[in-house]
Symmetry: C4
Subunit: 234 residues, 4 copies
Amino acid sequence: MTALSTLPPDTARAVRAAREKVCALHAELTRWSLVTWTSGNISERVPGTDLIVIKPSGVTYEDLTPDSMVVCDLDGTPVEDGCSPSSDTDAHAYVYRHMPEVGGVVHTHSTYATAWAARGESIPCAITAMADEFGDDIPVGPFALIGGDDIGRGIVATLSGHRSPAVLMAQHGVFTVGKDAKSAVKAAVMCEDVARTVHLARQHGPVDRLAQEHIDALYDRYQNVYGQRKGTDS
Amino acid sequence: MTALSTLPPDTARAVRAAREKVCALHAELTRWSLVTWTSGNISERVPGTDLIVIKPSGVTYEDLTPDSMVVCDLDGTPVEDGCSPSSDTDAHAYVYRHMPEVGGVVHTHSTYATAWAARGESIPCAITAMADEFGDDIPVGPFALIGGDDIGRGIVATLSGHRSPAVLMAQHGVFTVGKDAKSAVKAAVMCEDVARTVHLARQHGPVDRLAQEHIDALYDRYQNVYGQRKGTDS
Amino acid sequence: MTALSTLPPDTARAVRAAREKVCALHAELTRWSLVTWTSGNISERVPGTDLIVIKPSGVTYEDLTPDSMVVCDLDGTPVEDGCSPSSDTDAHAYVYRHMPEVGGVVHTHSTYATAWAARGESIPCAITAMADEFGDDIPVGPFALIGGDDIGRGIVATLSGHRSPAVLMAQHGVFTVGKDAKSAVKAAVMCEDVARTVHLARQHGPVDRLAQEHIDALYDRYQNVYGQRKGTDS
Amino acid sequence: MTALSTLPPDTARAVRAAREKVCALHAELTRWSLVTWTSGNISERVPGTDLIVIKPSGVTYEDLTPDSMVVCDLDGTPVEDGCSPSSDTDAHAYVYRHMPEVGGVVHTHSTYATAWAARGESIPCAITAMADEFGDDIPVGPFALIGGDDIGRGIVATLSGHRSPAVLMAQHGVFTVGKDAKSAVKAAVMCEDVARTVHLARQHGPVDRLAQEHIDALYDRYQNVYGQRKGTDS
């Protein structure tokens, strides 16, 4: 077990910054009604390290503090004594080990997205907001039990080479990835939004997937032009 | 009628603590939108006594104070003058008399759970969050009129020997139990959450119950591993 | 036009109290999400007078003050210069003229209740909370245009001799009545709640009306036993 | 590029007022839950000028300030350095160029309205609130890609000569117009409200459009009588 107190000053500062950012971002999960009780969690890779910062297990959102965030290695093992990490840490850690481009991971059971997941049905790319953010249908991953690498493996197998930063794990919920935790949170927020809109749309008739060329054009523009600086999404 | 003022100091402190806890927990019912106007209530057994603390009847949630909570014996009779106890006190008291392991009871008419109850249909255990918390389908209890032991009897008959801490009383609403009031509140919150998700999931196609072995594995893990300390749920 | 400044002191105090109460109660309409923009309104009869106090027309809820409430006679005519009364004042006034037992009236376009109204379908008394508050199905009134007595006449014709304090005016919205404004607000809140629950319940199968004898028993008990004092509802 | 610092004092004051108003109105989009993350935007024509003020691109609602609002000419080009304007600016600008009576434009992906748009189905004028505000069905505009005049052209073609201030752009979302930004915001709020109500109404049976003469009467009255002063809507 690495003593965090012996980290180089730069790394210690990066860990501290990640604790604060990951803690604060959990407020977005409640603000956008993506979580119930303690059911969702966020993690972020500490830049330049093999460490991640993740929500502690079973702590309610209003009780979270930067210090209660748990620092783990890429096997998901806490590097110091303190709170237990989220019971989903194994899945997060697997994603970080196998998708080096990923800097943030979010897990929720958000209502509409989980309803699609409960049926094991992918969300068709039927509206422009979905083409912008996801660039494709939001895919379904396999059913997998918690407590090992099965969930992580299912996420990585489904998202590798896919434009979508979100996967619906069958009969379970949503995992999203991003270049950092904020991007992954945004994907989780937008996933629930489009899951709800397309769910409702289909209640009164069929909904067509957008033409592939339109999806491609929208995705390309949004990823490269939108926002205040090229390549950012905020 | 027992004069609370003559209780031993330890018991008086336990009553006071229960008043404060039960009062505060009602804020969770409004926060998670489980109640409308004055329609839900929470009680807790005072540890080491034959007393319970319960919401007063017909008082809105923002007007609740620890002192307005009503202390009753296990027959549901107030032990001092003051507010009338919830009109559901008979049902709570029956549960405490017949399920000694229960330390907290919650009653709501939360929307989606009550919609299942209105049809008299149990909620199939179709998503992992449901297996975690309920370990089975959420069962339906009988239709019963208020004003006697019928509701309490229906709750006890349905939940005895069942993993689920929640029962859908037919054409009425939800009762949940727990080792304390907080656990019962959590069950009420999660009951509405899974009731909503499975309701929505079925709107666009069939939803499969999880395999029994998966339900068993998830339930066992959640009850024994999740959270900061073995055996707690927060 | 009566000059309010020349009212006897007791009446002036009663008018002032009604202004404050009606103004404050509008916060319940937003709290329970019954209104959008400026779409709902509350009025109260000033006890012992032929005056009513009602929301001003087209003013948003956060801009309401006791002084902006409009005092009208029972023909709906303002008794002093100031804000224009709600465009629904004619309907409120008609109800007060023809139902002397009514002390408060509320009008909303709350979502689920208005959905039933759009189809012109009454809400079957299928859950106990509905039997408690409404004692019957919530009935549908006729389609009527604003700007005269047609709406008021439809309300009175539908609610006279009916237990329900709520009527769904066809393709329009909800009117509720009560012994005072607070009771009418409670009926409006509960109407939306049961409209939503029964709407959702029917999405996955038929919902049975409660047996008449059970409705009668529940209604009688709720109207006479519930709450802190016999005959109150709070 | 016009230097705003060289504007005549009156125009500079009008620009400042528009910045403050447009910034503040974005709070209505979040209050009425019309937007997710950064997905909606508001603009207003600066009275007496060929300038518009619009939301900056990709900035979250709580980070908006009057100074971050972007001033553009009627081609949608910013007139000074600073934040990039909304990626929907081209569409807004096209509307201002071709509909001189329009002083405000709002764009959202509000859930229920976008569900209708996803199917490409107009919302039938089935309830009185809809006749009041929209005077007709809410029409569907063509599918159009972002990044040019296609969206603006679709809006103008659909709304020109139509009573409705709202258009559902196919598989995209809602655009609304008004005499100023506040009116367009009100139309966006009411559009989502009626989209939701009619969506729900149709889930349990057919919903009839109001008779044309009733729509005409309601629309005429609401546009000319409602509110505190003739011709205003607040």
